[in-house]
Structure formats: structure tokens, C-alpha cells
Subunit: 361 residues, 2 copies
């Protein structure tokens, strides 16, 4: 099969990026076949060059018939459009590195889908990295930097200041999603966790609950720290200083076990705030099916996130909704500004969420 | 800030791919700064060149101290390793395009995580594409072809034979995950849906259930077609020919509504097979909380997939488990062979699953 592009000959490589076909072959070698351009494809398909571009784009205005003609001509000519080569030449990459640390929590697949959809809608692509168990983001970032990414979004994890400096030197902007800043130069977008926790305390207190318990996530995560601090601060304002706390590591299983443990404490809590929804679901199952308790009569439960399953009748979880759509849009906007050089980073943007009342509290 | 690479000068671009630094500057221009190589970084960091490579790889054996020294030297020298440029030159891309059509069904985020982890473990990267609502895979694939992908995996969707031909001409192997082949030249990896459906019928019959109902997914999806055909065939072998069927579109909400509709039919089913788990969860909630029925006493429910939530005590869903790990590993193996040119495609690989008995049937 004839190769679409000869990568040993860099001028050929360069020329393939949609400049009109040159009728001379400077290399002269029979072995070197000049790659076709979009103009060649347009000619064969009997369409304009812009129709060729549109045929390879999503959402572009193009008829099925025209696209089919372009694809057929492209196939016949061995034409291969090359977005990566184009971005190398323009020094602008439309690839965003998305580094995700915790995809077992169903909140993050929902976040991932939003990022992919929103980035794709503006012509960007997602190069996805997960942080394997027992690895840190600092282990993963050097690999991300090897790709021609225009910027990086990190979800559910933070980075060392040393690594932030490296990214800055590499001129790759990084925005943290759902983690507040550990490093001055790095921007972050998150929900207003503190206000969320405050609203949850007020909700419990208004319903006569005084024996508050907290199921914490990863104790060093900024989201957990902010939610716990906000919860304790507001409880103290209501005169409540003793709050039972058990760590559940942000997982369903962790929430299940933490609920069993916290309900063995005395005085037994009558209201539990779980630092995320999937822990709250685990807690609900433990309370109902292992301890035989009535939720919310015996103990009220509130989560944080509003994942899809929170609304399912088996759970009817009262929770504090993170506005994922807006948080993702804001993250993309901030990253875009930093890629364009309009802003040098270091912003923390908090977006307000809201309490969704269902049956569990 | 000095740019790490001068993309207007292709020889410079080429030279940056880790050949030892050339002490002459052929270009001679003051504006053109020669990009540093891994050898330069090694020299400054006082380590071997191989340590520089390892510092940018995940899972490679390297001490924190050595990596820190390399990253510091790389930062100071403005060294930017470039995996994409390397793959362009080698004509081998380590990027796999992953096209996902249905990420709202929680089975697919689980699949995505497995693909990302398993590909990452062998040094490959995932460039993720979602198919937006009202778009077809044929709309999305032309974009995927613009990137220097070594191969493409398509989950939960199939493609036209015209598009399969285009991909072949572009020399980009495509493997379908969880859809059987619509096109001769394209390989596919899926669960043995027919045997799964058969096992489910046998399970119901052995427990005295005779009034079978089927909650179907997307009626044109191969998984749905195979599961329904297997279900009907086996039921017929047991002398059962009338099977109530309502479409639920593979979603939670669809399963919820379909369960209400199917239970209004007469004779009322006493056993429901939902073509995937998330529909089964919706059905369970509808049966229990809207119709007030006892599951499994009044009606037994079995799903297909074994997503995480199936095991949660609120659902205890009996289901047919798809062996995701093995299916993903097999897909990656098949794709790898086709990328290497060892196989020209057209294989369909079915992997056996197994029935997981819980409380719902």
C-alpha cells in the first residue's frame, strides 16, 4: 500500500499541510511520492477546498452527498489530513490533556463526558490520562508534557509546586478542576464548598437535628478540607462543637463502612453529612439494610455532588449539587485564556451550587 | 519566553528528536535557537541519557531524586520531549482514538477507565471522542482520522461499510467493542450475548417463571438483537413463544418507563430480562416504588453487564456479567495485531460471561 506521507522528507511533510500542490518534484526520486493536498481532493471530488475541510470537521455545514464525494476522493488519492502536523507548524495544539485521578467515583465520569463534549464542540480534543493507583500526578505529568498539548486540566488531584514550575517552563498552562490551588501560579475552578457545607448545617438544624456526624473523603483533598471546615464552622455558630467524624475515602464501600462505624459512637448521630454522593449512597445502604434504620427518621443523610444515582427512588438523596456544566465551561474558558497568553494563571474561581432536597434528610 | 522548538525550521524540528546535539548551527541566525536534546539535559543533570527518557515515562524505574534532577535540568534548558513528533517520524503513533457513543450508561465509563488504564500501561494514549446526540459515528470518524492515531476503538456503536473502507484506505485499523461486525473487514470483540440470554431463560424457567418479558435497549444495536434473539430462541425451546417486549433505550429512565408499561400487559409478566443493567435498575425502582411490587416475589428481574451499582444492597441485581477486563485486553490485542499488520481484520471474538445471582431473581 502506498504510504500517505513520507515522513523522512520533512519538506514533504510540511508541504502536505494544505498548501496548493506544487507541480514540480524537487526531490526527483521515484520512490518519493508527493502527498496529495486538500486542493487535489477538491479537484477530484468536484467541490471547493473549503468543502474538503468541512468534510473532516464535525458539526460543519455539509451535505451527506458532498461529504461522501470528498471522502471517496480522499480515499482514492490517499489523502490524509493531519491535524497534529498542522498544530506543530502553527505551534498551537488543539489537544487538551485531561488528567483524572479518581474515575471510580461516578461524579468524575460525568465530569469527563462534559469536558469531552464541551471541548469537542469548540474543535478541541481530549487526550486522557488516568493516574494509576499508588502513583501521583507528579508521576503522570511528565508524560503529558511529551504530547503536543495546548494545556492541561487536572481533576480531583493537585500537584506539587515543583511540577507546576516545570509546566510553566514548558509553557503548558494547567487548570485544576474541583481542587483549590496548592500553588500560586496555577488556576483552579471549584464549587463553593464552604457555602455548601454551611447550607447543609442550616438544613439539619432547621429540622431539629443536633447530633451531627461527618463522613469525610480523602482527608488531604482540598474539597474535603473545605467541606469539613465549613461544616464545623457553621455548626459552631449554632453552638455545636462536638462532631463525630469517620473517614470514608470518597468511595461507596468507604461510605458504607464509615456509616457503620459512626453509628456505633455515643451519642449516636441523628444527621450525617457525607463529603460526596457515592459515600452517601454507601451510607444509606448500610443504615437501611445492615442496621435496619429508618432514613431520615432515625438519621438524616445529605451528600455532595448530585450524581445521577442520587435522584433514583432507591436513594432519593438530599444533596448539594455541584453545577458541573458551569464548572466545566469556566475551566475551559480559564484554560483558553491562559493558552492565549491573556492571563498568567493563579486564579481561583468558585461557583455556587445549591441544595437539592429529596427524601434522605 | 524563549520557544522550546522552532517549528518553521523543519530540520530543527527533526533534529530535536533525540539525536546527539550538533555543535554547529547551520542556520546561523541569531533568532534561531537550537533546541536542546535529551543528551544536553543528561549532561546538565549529571545523569545518563536513558535516565532522561525514564524521567518522562510512567512506571519506569527511576528514583524521585533523579527524576527531580532531570526535570529541573529540562526546565532550565527549555527541553521539550515530543512524543508526537517522534511518532510522526517513526510513522508509528502511540495514540489510540477511542470513540464512545453512549457514556450516560454507567457501563461505558467503566469500559473507558479500563481502556485508559490498560493502554497507558503499555505506553499508549487515549484520544477520546464522544459522538454527540443526533450525530452518527460516520460524522465523527473523519475527525479522528485527522489525528495521528495508530488505530481506533469504537464502543457501543457501529459504522457504515463506506466509512470502514475509508479507514482501511487511511490504513487506520478499527476494532469495534461490544458490537458485532456490520462490515466484513472490521474486527469486533464482544461478550457472548446469545449464551448470556440463554442462561437467563434457564434461570427463570428453573424457578418456575413462565410469563417472560423483555425490556429491550436500542432495537438496532447488535447487542440488543443478539440478546433478544437468544432469549426468544431459548424460551421457544422451553415451549414459550409469547414474550412481552417494551423498548427502554438502554437508559435508566427508559427502563423505568418500560417496566411500568410491560406490567400493564396481560398476562402480567412474572420475570423480566432487561437488556442492560441501568435499565434493570430503573425497572426495579419503578416496580418497587411506583407499583409497590415485591421483587423477586411478584416479578423477578435480571440485567446484563454487572455494573458497580448492581451489587449495591438497594438493588442486589441478578445479572449476566460481561468480563470487561478480558474484553478490553482482547480488543487491545486485536488492534495491536492489526496495527502491526499481522492481521487484516474481520475477526469477531466473543468472550464468555457468567450469571451473577443476587436478590432480584
Amino acid at each position: 500500500m502506498a504510504s500517505a506521507m513520507n515522513f523522512n522528507a520533512m519538506p514533504v511533510f510540511k508541504r502536505s499541510i494544505d498548501s496548493p500542490a506544487n507541480s514540480h518534484n524537487e526531490n526527483g526520486g521515484a520512490a518519493r511520492r508527493k502527498p496529495p493536498t486538500s486542493y487535489d481532493v477538491a479537484k477530484v471530488a468536484g467541490v471547493s477546498q473549503s468543502a474538503v475541510s468541512r468534510a473532516f470537521s464535525q458539526g460543519a455545514s455539509i451535505s451527506k452527498k458532498t461529504r461522501a464525494a470528498v471522502m471517496e476522493a480522499a480515499g482514492a488519492l490517499d489523502y490524509r489530513p493531519n491535524a497534529i502536523a498542522r498544530s506543530l507548524i502553527r505551534r498551537r495544539s488543539d489537544i487538551v490533556g485531561l488528567v483524572m485521578a479518581d474515575l471510580t467515583n461516578p461524579f468524575y465520569p460525568e465530569v469527563l463526558v462534559k469536558f469531552t463534549e464541551q471541548l469537542q464542540a469548540i474543535g478541541k480534543r481530549v487526550l486522557l490520562f488516568t493516574v494509576p493507583p499508588n502513583h501521583s500526578i507528579d508521576d503522570t505529568l511528565p508524560q503529558v508534557l511529551q504530547y503536543q498539548v495546548g494545556g492541561v486540566v487536572i481533576t480531583s488531584a493537585t500537584m506539587s509546586s515543583a511540577m507546576a514550575e516545570i509546566c510553566q517552563r514548558f509553557n503548558v498552562p494547567v487548570v485544576l478542576f474541583n481542587r483549590s490551588v496548592a500553588v500560586d501560579s496555577v488556576s483552579a475552578v471549584c464549587c463553593d464548598n464552604s457555602s455548601g457545607a454551611k447550607a447543609i448545617v442550616d438544613f439539619f438544624i432547621a429540622r431539629g437535628r443536633r447530633r451531627l456526624g461527618f463522613l469525610s473523603g480523602d482527608t488531604d483533598a482540598s474539597t474535603n478540607i473545605e467541606r469539613e471546615a465549613g461544616f464545623r464552622r457553621r455548626a459552631a455558630e449554632h453552638g455545636i462543637h462536638a462532631i463525630e467524624t469517620v473517614a470514608g475515602g470518597f468511595s461507596y464501600e468507604g461510605g458504607y463502612k464509615a456509616a457503620l462505624e459512626i453509628m456505633a459512637r455515643r451519642p449516636r448521630p441523628d444527621a450525617l453529612f457525607a463529603a460526596n454522593d457515592v459515600m452517601a449512597l454507601g451510607a444509606l445502604d448500610a443504615l437501611r439494610y445492615q442496621l435496619g434504620l429508618d432514613v431520615p427518621k432515625d438519621v438524616a443523610v445529605i451528600g455532595f455532588d448530585d450524581i445521577s444515582a442520587a435522584a433514583w427512588p432507591s436513594y432519593k438523596l438530599t444533596t448539594f449539587r455541584q453545577p458541573i456544566d458551569r464548572m466545566v465551561a469556566e475551566t475551559i474558558r480559564v484554560l483558553g485564556e491562559e493558552i492565549e497568553g491573556e492571563d498568567r494563571g493563579g486564579r481561583t474561581i468558585q461557583i455556587a451550587g445549591r441544595l437539592i432536597e429529596r427524601g434522605s434528610a
